[in-house]
């Protein structure tokens, strides 16, 4: 596929770039001065609660809508649609022609992006059979379950072997088994050198898959970097339980240490745990348990995007699980 598309020569360092992007709907600023750069060949997550501006940001980057301000670059091209043949996009609101057969729908989506229809049909059949959906090949979309239709659309997104795959809330509406399948598929694509950009409001997926993340809230990017960078925004948390209630060793505890149910909680001091350990041993504190917990992406998200945004994401995830 890549051989017949323009702008192939040296692959850009960034698959997607946006600088100073602004998009308003009436008086609402859905995207508010976003700078983003998605390195080629990575799995990149855009995290944020519903309404944070993730979908608008993706649509702007892909050229579906134009920004009011700023500029974007997709696979090195200023006009995103010029690179459409090398991009696969799964929108948040899934859409297929209900009367189309499954393999035709996949081939049609490939044809839109330049894959010859005949070749698309062959690949579509192989894909469906390879994923245990052989019985659905000739079924119209309206006869498929929601999960199957979603899988058909996902196959349609990658049928033409794109260099960049953009998935908007891809896990939404999938059961646990299909979520696991999708995660595997994303990893397979990344191993082939494909850049995968996806948005999600479920932090666990991003934590498992992403090399880099952008945390979006209120139309702005609040953080951009690796998952480790995000975690590093917070210091590790120490949890200490001692047999001795009191002693000279207590003077060595950091000033922010708090006691809860007989255990001490505090952020790991800048000088590390060793000075405290030495004071505990010298002071016969009697260490019952000591744990250093590295903060998760969720904790980082709370710290970065704010507790309210984190709570909204949890609510969204719970609501979806119930549905």
């Amino acid at each position: 596929m890549n051989g017949d598309t323009p702008g192939l020569a040296p692959a850009p360092a960034y698959a997607l770039e946006g600088h100073g992007l602004v998009k308003t709907f009436g008086s609402f600023r859905a995207v508010d001065g976003v700078d983003i750069a998605v390195p080629a060949g990575t799995i990149y997550g855009v995290l944020g609660p519903n309404g944070a501006g993730k979908t608008t940001l993706l649509r702007t980057l892909l050229g579906i809508i134009d920004p009011d301000e700023g500029h974007r670059r997709l696979l090195g091209a200023e006009q995103p649609l010029r690179m459409a043949r090398q991009v696969g996009y799964l929108p948040e609101e899934r859409g297929l022609y209900p009367s189309m057969k499954a393999y035709e729908a996949i081939a049609f989506m490939g044809a839109l992006r330049g894959l010859p229809l005949r070749q698309g049909r062959v690949r579509a059949r192989a894909m469906l059979e390879g994923h245990g959906m052989g019985a659905a090949i000739n079924k119209p979309i309206r006869q498929l379950s929601k999960g199957m239709a979603q899988t058909v659309q996902l196959f349609g997104t990658i049928i033409h072997e794109p260099r960049l795959i953009v998935l908007d809330e891809p896990f939404s509406g999938l059961d646990a088994i299909n979520q696991e399948k999708l995660e595997r598929l994303i990893r397979e694509q990344a191993q082939r050198g494909v850049t995968v950009l996806f948005s999600t409001h479920v932090i666990a997926h991003a934590e498992r898959l992403c090399e880099r993340v952008a945390i979006v809230a209120g139309g702005r990017i609040r953080f951009e970097g690796t998952v480790d960078d995000a975690r590093a925004q917070l210091r590790s948390q120490v949890r200490l339980r001692t047999r001795a209630r009191d002693g000279a060793w207590r003077a060595a505890l950091p000033g922010d240490a708090t006691q809860e149910e007989g255990a001490w909680h505090f952020a790991l001091p800048d000088g590390g745990i060793e000075p405290l350990l030495r004071a505990l041993l010298d002071g016969d504190a009697g260490i019952e348990s000591l744990s250093i917990e590295r903060p998760g992406l969720h904790d980082a998200f709370v710290a970065i995007a704010g507790a309210a945004a984190a709570q909204q994401m949890r609510d969204d995830a719970e609501r979806e699980a119930l549905v």
């Binding site: 579906i64 649609l81 996009y89 209900p98």
Partner: protein
Amino acid sequence: MREMWRAALVIARRDFTAVVLSRTFILFLLGPLLPILIGMVFAGFTDKISSTDLRPVVGIAMPASETVRLERAHDRLTERMGDQALVRLRRVPTTPAPREQLARADSAVVAILSGTVARPVLTGKAEDLDRLQGDLSLIASAAQAENTLRMVQVRREEVATSNGAQAQGRLQIGRVAQIVMFFLTILLAGMILSNLVEEKTNKIIEILAAAVPIDAIFLGKLMAMLAMSFVGIAFWGGTAFAIFLALGGNGAAVPMPAVGWPVFLALAVIYFAMAYTLLGSLFLGIGAQAATVREVQTLNMPVTMGQMMIFFFASYAIDHMGKAPEIAAAIFPFSSPFTMIARAAQDDALWPHLLAIVWQALFVGLIIRVGVLLFRRHVMQSGGRWWKQLFRASTG
């Protein structure tokens, strides 16, 4: 540009197969034939009604001898002028007060002729008197002349062609072509209004807009609907031709259009395509703004009215060949195809057609572009003022 046509073809192929391979397409093909078939079945019946019952009946309230003279004169004139030319006569009782007789509930005549053949008196409503007076004067004159009235024999001199008859025939061809094109357009182009509703309600528009320029979506949809229309026209035209042959129709009796039949038919196809895509691109642009089928249905009536106005303009222009109304109708893009096909029937110059086709094609492109920009602005909520982007590349 090549990429846009490729994308348009992908969309056109999808839409075309989706429509043509659906079960409802058979109904679409058969639908227009039903009125024709029903019309043929009842043709004889309706013909009878129109030839016997619709002529006005005038009561003759004269002495019997006078009445007989009038009836004989009526028969002699009918022999020469045909069955439908004169009013019907019916005997009614002689009366001194025809007004009262006309006012009776069981009166079945429009007016009453009383008095004598030499001094007839016609009683009736003013507008009836206006239209019957001439006929009855002629019948009474013939009755008075009786046997002295000699019919002059007209000697026949046949010629192969007559410019006047040819002009009349070509005018008729122009009118028929306009009417056929108008009905086909009104029948087929209105369907385009709802063409983007499926994509919008099924959320497919997002997939399409992310992959191809919206111009290609519009163009593809127009191409698909035009192709589907040609399938329909081929079917209906073939059926009509078969019926024409089955009824022993004589093609030689049909007058020849000014540009000749092959060119005329080719121009008819091109002008239909132009009329269809001009209106279709407008309807697509309007329909694309609608969010639901209900909104599209609401738009149907004003759109049909608009089509009627265009047709009236073009059919008015046909009688003013080469004058301001015809030139205006040829320049106004929406009436241009209808006006130009009528011109092709009457005038053999070909260059105006080349000019008109290029002109119309330019407007198709312009209307599609404006429709796309309005769609991007109001539906996709993207892009600035549409007129500023009119001539920019459509690659997003």
